[in-house]
């Protein structure tokens, strides 16, 4: 199964992720 988040945010929003990485619920996705 998959969860897709789609959201608007200020242009300077940055993901702090790498494609393919494992992630746990509760961990940050990104910062403004």
């Amino acid at each position: 199964s998959t969860i897709v988040l789609l959201f608007e945010a200020p242009r300077d929003f940055k993901f702090s992720l790498t494609a393919g990485q494992k992630i746990h619920f509760g961990e940050p996705l990104g910062t403004m």
Partner: protein, 315 residues
């Protein structure tokens, strides 16, 4: 003619099948050679016929049968071996489970819905958006030209995925569907795809503080969504059964979509008792809407970051 009639179909099938596989493998070999030379090769996506053949597999029926099977209570003596095999196969970490005793789970469906110890997943306070679930980050980034990437290089249409923009009045006349969604000047649209593997914890939580105003349920196929298939079937997430929750967060539009898959055909949203997924009968391409905003509840459903939101179930 007589000779032709005498020929057995099986050898013909084997010959054509292996010929096709050989051709496909040679193409993949060529792609790998090009990639070794540092040449970016676009992913090989399935053609129309392959998608049609794949979609013709009765995945919903298989999924419901799989779900029925996993609702059968196991005898106590069989629980440990069965669940240990599942734990070993999918790398489940039972130390994080709220109940570690395998005898506690009457069937695999219950085991699949296991909860975690509260302290196992601390919710990050210093960031406004968190991962809603355990899993693997398939893809993320800025949405461009109304196309969202399911994996690098393979996209799907934003409007097909979310359906027509009818869940709220739109005041201005936007140039594109994407502009409809972005409500504030200077904002952009971002997306993130989290793939939950069979051994992962399969409940999901609110990724931020937001108000959920609307739910749109798309019945659909239940093709596998593992990364290999996501690289192969374009628009995969638009074919599959999914539940789109949309609303607002501090920066404007926010949506979370749970997409089902073959072994995980059912989606539950804890505050939405009416939602029924993976039903035997549905009209292709249909969807059904439910607004959580009513006269005596103008806000919709308020969700705090990290709050329990829903779960995927087997079958």
């Amino acid at each position: 003619k007589y000779k032709m009639a005498r020929m057995r179909p099986l050898p013909i099938l084997i010959a054509t099948g292996s010929g096709y596989l050989g051709y496909d493998q040679y193409g993949r070999y060529k792609d790998r050679e090009l990639q070794k030379l540092g040449i970016e090769v676009p992913p090989r996506v399935a053609n129309e016929l392959q998608v049609t053949i794949y979609k013709s597999i009765p995945t919903r029926l298989l999924s419901r049968a799989w779900g029925r099977l996993n609702q059968v209570d196991l005898p106590t003596w069989l629980r440990k071996p069965i669940y240990s095999l599942y734990i070993w196969t999918f790398g489940v970490n039972m130390k994080e489970a709220a109940v570690e005793d395998l005898q506690h789970y009457r069937n695999l469906g219950e085991f699949f819905r296991r909860k975690l110890k509260p302290q196992a997943r601390p919710v990050c306070d210093s960031h406004c958006v968190i991962s809603p679930a355990d899993g693997k980050i398939l893809h993320f980034g800025r949405v461009k030209n109304c196309e969202v990437e399911q994996v690098k290089g393979v996209t799907y249409s934003l409007e097909t995925f979310l359906g027509p923009y009818t869940w709220t009045e739109s005041l201005d006349d936007p140039s594109s569907f994407q502009d409809l969604l972005v409500t504030k000047e200077g904002n952009e649209l971002f997306h993130c795809v989290v793939y939950l593997a069979p051994g992962d914890y399969h409940c999901f939580h609110s990724p931020t503080d937001w108000r959920v105003a609307h739910r749109r349920h798309f019945p659909g196929s239940l093709m596998s969504v593992n990364p290999g298939v996501a690289r192969w079937i374009k628009e995969l997430f638009c074919h599959n059964e999914r539940v789109v929750l949309s609303g607002e967060w501090t920066h404007g539009f926010f949506s979370l979509t749970a997409v089902g898959a073959t072994n995980v055909g059912s989606i539950r949203i804890y505050f939405d008792k009416e939602l029924r997924t993976n039903n035997p009968r549905y009209n292709k391409g249909s969807y059904n809407d439910l607004s959580y905003v009513s006269n005596n509840n103008r806000e919709g459903v308020t969700m705090r970051k990290g709050e329990h939101l829903g779960e995927f179930n087997l079958g």
